[in-house]
């Protein structure tokens, strides 16, 4: 079995973190710097609904 060298794994991880940072900073540039706020109660229900949807997908495939 071919094992990925450690430095490659490290580089991949660094690039993924840098990519995440680039994505967030790009969203600031496009949509403006976000305002600190409170979690809307609807968001929690959206997350629960998404979980239910994901759990349901394999059952109806």
């Amino acid at each position: 079995m071919r094992i990925k060298p450690a430095w490659k794994s490290f580089a991949s991880a660094v690039f993924i973190f840098l990519g995440g940072m680039a994505l967030i900073l790009a969203s600031f540039a496009l949509a403006g710097f976000p305002f600190r706020g409170q979690v809307p109660p609807q968001l929690i229900w959206v997350e629960v609904a998404l979980l239910v949807l994901l759990l349901g997908i394999p059952l109806f495939r």
């Binding site: 993924i16 995440g20 940072m21 967030i24 900073l25 710097f33 976000p34 997350e47 994901l54 997908i57």
Partner: protein, 562 residues
């Protein structure tokens, strides 16, 4: 040279070293060379690279500025205007064709205050008039009648007695005469007023065994009505008054008693004042801090904003209520944490400014009609007591800053002349040293993300347990890796909401939240997509990576603002 470019060069060089190594090659004599030389070159290069990276990343914390001012997009520079005091609960600002008018009580001793009117034209003070000097002022009001007239009412206290005075003058200022509206030996306080055309509607709280709300009307320099609105055995204080398009006078005040503080509302009809309507609950804490009710009429609706304590909270929050037809009051809704709400004058719908709570103290927050809240204050200076007005589509917001040289300063911002902001600054990055700041941000956020991930150990364990149980069902176990990582991510996000001890990053809006979750999920999938093993170890690894990525992306704006 950017870190990314350097990193690519480093990796590129390492690759070349591997390819150019001697492993497996033959010498001229035909003997196979050993692999050791290539390995030694590779290891030496890597050590050099790591040292280089270390040397680059280490000074970032020293070279990068630790704090970046985040400017509200679409707003101007903050302009300092003049010095004043905080002895009155509010200063006044209003606007007409002549310019922007201010009324404030200036001075350094509360018994020797100067009631000062200022007219600002094109950003400069065109007129500055002391209307009453060296007096102990409790409250004041400035109103414009739409024809250039300025109407000022103030309440002053002295050992000889207390009185409410009124004056009016035009632009340019050519002197003023003072009318005594009320002179009394009893305690009077909390004067508020509303200017409707030529008529000034004045309300205040007066001690008459108990504190009652009183109302007066001033027209053509004469007191045309004087009424007592309340008749209770409790303390009726902090009145606010407004007049709608139909000329109906609306009044709100705070009724304090053993049961707490009630926000009450009444309107003036031909038959007198309507029975008080309780619209919400106020707070003694707010009264102690000089809190007032903001009252504004838009068509047939009257809107009230004040600050109080929501259930299960000891921090003041801004509440909003709408009264339709003078009788039907909506349930109080919480706008945000903060105090001192004021409606923006001259708008078609309710727009609010208030004193919000920031990391470095009070901030000024603005909520447009049907829009999202914006923090208008920049930097670490605490800002408080906002006032605002609108001219067409433009908004002008003013507040008080503590002056480093002593006293307080009125400062203003507007969205008429937006400040040009660089792309770096839009992202919260220091445009003078963007790469150092990016490096610093990357390192510090990564370290902070590790700490936050460690505090979420309970969440991770519950998520791992739940996911392992799901894996016992064949239908879930056989799904693709991407599905499994998405399921793991959503499951973790839901479990984060449970009351499990953990530390979470501050919330920066739905878009940011969705992007963080998306980036963490895709990133975890990219890192693990070639891993064939499954089981509890894989689940825990995936969870750790996801949580670290999520915390890292979620902490970025919080870390920029710190």
């Amino acid at each position: 040279m950017s870190y990314i470019r350097l990193f690519v060069l480093i990796i590129g060089k390492t690759n070349r070293e591997i390819k150019g190594g001697n492993e497996g090659k033959c010498s001229a004599a035909g003997e196979v060379l050993a692999a050791q030389k290539g390995v030694v070159i590779l290891v030496r290069t890597r050590v050099v690279c790591y040292i280089l990276l270390l040397l680059l990343l280490l000074p970032t914390s020293a070279m990068a500025r630790d704090y970046i001012e985040i400017w509200p997009q679409g707003w101007s520079e903050i302009t300092p205007l003049f010095n004043t005091s905080i002895f009155l609960d509010r200063f006044f600002v209003t606007h007409d064709a002549e310019g922007t008018s201010f009324l404030s009580a200036d001075g350094t001793y509360y018994k020797e205050l100067d009631l000062t009117y200022r007219l600002v034209q094109n950003g400069k003070i065109a007129e500055e008039v002391v209307l009453r000097s060296q007096a102990e002022l409790d409250s004041a009001f400035l109103g414009l009648d739409g024809t250039g007239g300025r109407h000022v009412v103030w309440l002053e206290q002295s050992p000889a007695g207390n009185n409410i005075s009124y004056t009016s003058f035009d632009v340019p200022y050519a002197g003023h005469e003072v009318l005594t509206v009320l002179a009394t030996g009893s305690i009077i306080q909390d004067l508020a007023a509303h200017q409707a055309g030529e008529t000034t509607h004045v309300v205040w709280s007066q001690r008459d065994r108990f504190y009652q709300i009183r109302y007066a009307q001033i027209r053509d320099g004469q007191v045309s009505a004087m009424e007592t609105v309340t008749d209770t055995e409790e303390l009726s204080v902090r009145p606010a008054v407004t007049v709608d398009d139909q000329g109906v006078v609306h009044l709100a005040w705070m009724e304090t008693g053993h049961a707490g503080v009630e926000i009450r509302y009444s309107r003036r009809t031909e038959d007198g004042w309507t029975s008080p309507l309780k619209v919400g609950e106020g707070s003694v804490q707010d009264i102690q801090q000089g809190g007032l009710i903001a009252l504004a009429a838009f068509g047939e609706e009257v809107h009230l904003a004040w600050s109080g304590l929501p259930r299960a909270s000891s921090r003041l929050h801004v509440f909003l209520v709408t009264i339709s037809g003078g009788e039907d009051a909506s349930a109080p809704s919480v706008v945000a944490m903060g105090s001192k709400p004021r409606f923006v004058q001259g708008t078609l719908g309710p727009e609010l400014v208030w004193q919000g709570v920031g990391v470095f103290g009070a901030e000024i927050h603005y909520l447009p009609f049907g829009g999202e809240t914006t923090n208008l204050t920049v930097g670490r200076r605490g800002a408080f007591r906002p006032e605002a007005y609108a001219v067409g589509e433009h908004r002008y917001v003013f507040w008080l800053y503590a002056n480093p040289d002593g006293g307080y300063q009125v400062a203003g911002i507007n969205n008429q002349f937006p400040k040009a902001i660089s792309l770096w600054r839009k992202m919260g990055i220091d445009e003078e040293a963007p790469l150092y700041h990016l490096g610093f941000l990357f390192m510090s956020t990564l370290m902070l993300a590790m700490v936050y991930t460690a505090t979420n150990l309970g969440v991770l364990l519950v998520a791992a347990g739940s996911y392992s149980l799901l894996q016992r069902v064949g239908r879930y176990r056989k799904q693709s890796l991407f599905y499994q990582i998405v399921l793991l991510a959503v499951l973790t996000m839901v479990i984060r909401r449970l009351p499990i001890p953990a530390v979470h990053p501050q919330f920066f809006g739905v878009l940011h939240h969705v992007l963080c979750a998306g980036a963490a999920t895709v990133g975890t999938w990219l890192l693990l997509r070639r891993v064939k093993q499954r089981g509890l170890l894989f689940t825990m690894g995936a969870l750790l990576i996801w949580m670290l990525l999520f915390q890292f992306t979620a902490l970025l704006p919080q870390n920029i603002l710190l």
